[in-house]
Symmetry: D2
């Protein structure tokens, strides 16, 4: 099994959860999706996040899906599992269950009721108490979905208090200044240098985040190869090339990042690409119209043309 | 088993979930609490609501607690189980599980992401689809916890669309005008007359809600006999007596209804009264200070004195 | 002019703004209201707060109303003016204008966009910069209306940074623990002892707040004599008597503190008492139904009876 | 004066409010900005919106700025003034004042307290009552800033109730389905066809909105010529060309649309382009770091290169 610690880098893809047209878990598509991700060069997978429709699964379905992914990955890359929960007992139960199955770590966002700095810090002390010191975990900083704004000093305090917090999923928006400030703190030796994977705007600021010191990306996009190639070009010092690749995909990425309807767009494209069998999203969820599909087709066609131009 | 339908009336107590000092489920206290409620004259129980710390229990603990309560009640009064969930698959799974154990019905609040009238109505159509037409359910209207405001026409539409919705837990605040409007609609024959149990402000408007046509109360209070006696006096036409009883308990009820800290107050008093063994609230949760306890003691002493005066 | 500083105590009434039935400013009623307040024994007035419908007045109307109140008070008690504004230029303009007219100070709540501790502290540094060091000001801590939760350390930092902040309007809910913590900090000599006036729940926790060290009350109630008498009894060491008075008014006070509709209740009673000519509330605002008025009449009658009993 | 009615189309630029480095209104820059906009081919101007820092101006400053813009425009294009206000008296006062100066209309967003469909519709009935039937107005649908979600039937009802509502500023996100639904309703003859100007994501979906029937754009961007050219190409039937232009500007537009920091980016670029003298944003407001400026320079350089390629 690959190590999952502060040195993690590259692309950790936020996967979807494939369903068949009737809404049942689609385990064959799950296998195909895992294969596709690994062939595309991702460095890790993150499952059962918001875009994985985690809250729409029964506890039993979550376990079945997680086990299937882990069985297919066979330890080739780390698999992180979303473990945010409204209480610590269910969080602890889920974390134990997936770590026993072979997950590399879990991801936790702050509870949406938290407001003050002290409340947030105390919450993550309880997370640490719940997970113990053997489970590496990812701090998810996504105010748009949680409503919780964590100031830079709060993130630094959480890192100091929790040695098993090895990664920040950076999704604050705007968030570039915060990313720079966290990196500056570890450069000054005030805190450990933990892994930061970018997700601001669903990856819509990836080149800028890499320039500010992000180690890669943790988000979702139907053309995940964009993230792999941008990260590789940037790591190789080819900043302009990273921007060229990013810009070619940006019109479609922007379209796919629309809140709510975006997941339907992503699953539609993944189904078109043959990765998953059905584009079904569980209720309550969006459906695409003929106009939406026309938009996607136009954007995809233009994207292909542009990619040929920059090669 | 008593019928649970639109004719339901009286007091349906929102119970706490007893824990021992170390945070484990306390099943002996659960038995004692059930006995205490039934001896106090409640007409039903509602378990696994917000004040039952439902989100802090594992799925397994929820099942164990529900089964214990149902076994102890032995069908003497209906038991309603909170089934609000972020997705329909877990909602359906929980509802099926507790109905199989002998619950009389479930309670569902709107998901916190809903805003427009159409979104709310569509959501409850999906609830109905999820529960089927055999499970009687309670519509919980509690904007303070959900953030969702359901206008009177929306409540009426949900009632029309869902014949198995038999009860409204009325907790909008201010909510007296809405209660009157819903009753007026059934008086005019526009909709069924469903059961409405009062919970506005945690029962702090009980006499007024009964005068507007509520059929009883569904909320929690450590002195649950207050609600029983107020409802009985009111049903017997003794409105002034209902107010006398209510007013005697109001200073403490007001104190116990403080958001957040209120559950600790309730469990402290229940433990003092010998109903549950420990006042423990699971994390994250409030703790009482010495000053809080001094407040409670002063208010309890004054309450006892006042109750003697009005007898 | 009476001094307005950290030693302030007693009742600072949050006044309404009287309108005639057609919605125009009613300046005769304004005079009568000022007289009524002073005769009732208030120690100060706070005008142009939320319950004064400040945001529904034009800038010109605000000035006319403030001037009329100040002219009528003639310096007998301090008058505080609400100066919260979405920007510092209008805040500064309003503060200068009312201080020039003779106001004793202004009141400022945090902007509703603030979340983190540092954001809140930085905001009040800008408030201080805006007001200068000559304008005594009241920090309004009312999360229900602002959405901003200020932790105790944040309140203490604001007090340290702003020597001209002389008073805290304590309206956090639940807020008793915070009040105790702020008082403990000044008892330990860590910060100045500033004046704290109670408003938690619209005064529904007045006896408890006084026991925790509040210096009085700053809130509104149509029977303002309740607050005056409770504060005097408490200050004289007659805690049980303070509770007796409070409890007699509590059923109506609770009714008047309903969010939204409460202002219509307050103005209805003030009009019934002859203090203001009309109960008109400007749009958008609530209207009382016949049932609401029946509730008020029942509660008022019972209140009078109870007051006779405790004398 | 050009007519401002349902036939309005093209680009209505949301302008900034220029300040000098010390924060004072900069009227010379205001003149230059107006000239720049008109030379760039805009069809109208919208002033004193959120991005115009309207809430940070005193009432007097708002009047001075509005008068200066109107004097400079001299009726060549319609000027719309933001008139959203927490109360109807100040809204009416502001609207009257700017219409008297020569504004073509005002723009109103729903108050942030509104939730249910009926509340929203009732609110805009009061807006109509406030403005009278002589003032053409723009309905601003921007849930991200107001927190108010207006369903399509609600927008249609507002249009029916208010004949002087001539334009929708379409900023719901995701909003493409709503735009299509509103257009479908007028195509079916159910409602008037009003003007819809696009602003979803700050213009980040401009080509898609034009394809769905938007008549132009109402938003801000430092390179406003992008919007002019995209709208013209689209209106001429050159959809691919419209996308080509849009895509060339998209990387920078995306950067400038970051919430909060975006206004500082916009003013920085406008100052670099010589349109305004200073990039100053009034407090509370963001400041750009050296890294932010490096990002902007890289994106601007790449944008220029790409624009040369597509010519």
């Amino acid at each position: 099994m690959p190590v999952f610690d502060e040195s993690a880098k590259g692309v950790y893809l936020i996967t979807v959860t494939p369903f068949s047209d009737n809404g049942a878990l689609d385990l064959d598509s799950t296998d195909r999706m895992v294969d596709f991700c690994l062939e595309s060069g991702v460095d890790g997978l993150t499952i059962l996040g918001i875009m994985g429709e985690a809250t729409k699964l029964t506890a039993e379905e979550s376990r079945i899906f997680a086990r299937r992914v882990l069985d297919r990955v066979r330890g080739r890359v780390p698999v992180i599992v979303g473990a945010s929960a409204p209480g610590f007992a269910p969080m602890g139960e889920l974390a134990k269950s997936v770590m026993d199955m072979g997950a590399a770590g879990v991801m936790v966002a702050p509870a949406s009721t938290l407001r003050t700095d002290d409340q947030i810090i105390a919450y993550f002390d309880m997370v640490t108490e719940t997970l113990g010191d053997k489970v590496p975990w990812v701090l998810q900083d996504h105010p748009v979905s949680t409503g919780v704004q964590m100031a830079t000093p709060v993130v630094l305090r959480i890192m100091k208090n929790a040695p098993s917090c090895v990664m920040l999923k950076h999704e604050d928006s705007p968030g570039l200044a915060k990313l720079s400030a966290i990196r500056a703190a570890s450069d000054r030796g005030e805190v450990r240098r933990l892994s930061i994977l970018a997700g601001n705007g669903g990856g819509l600021f990836l080149p800028e985040e890499l320039s500010r010191g992000a180690d890669g990306a943790m988000t979702g996009f139907a053309y995940l190869e964009m993230m792999v190639e941008v990260c590789r070009a940037h790591a190789a010092g080819n900043v302009e090339q990273a921007h060229d690749i990013f810009d070619a995909y940006l019109p479609l990425a922007r379209y796919e990042q629309q809140t709510g309807v975006g997941l339907a767009v992503r699953k539609y494209i993944l189904a078109q690409r043959g990765v998953i069998a059905s584009s079904a999203v569980r209720k309550p969820g969006p459906k695409l119209s003929a106009q939406d599909i026309a938009d996607i087709e136009l954007l995809t066609r233009r994207q292909e043309k542009r990619l040929r131009e920059i090669q």
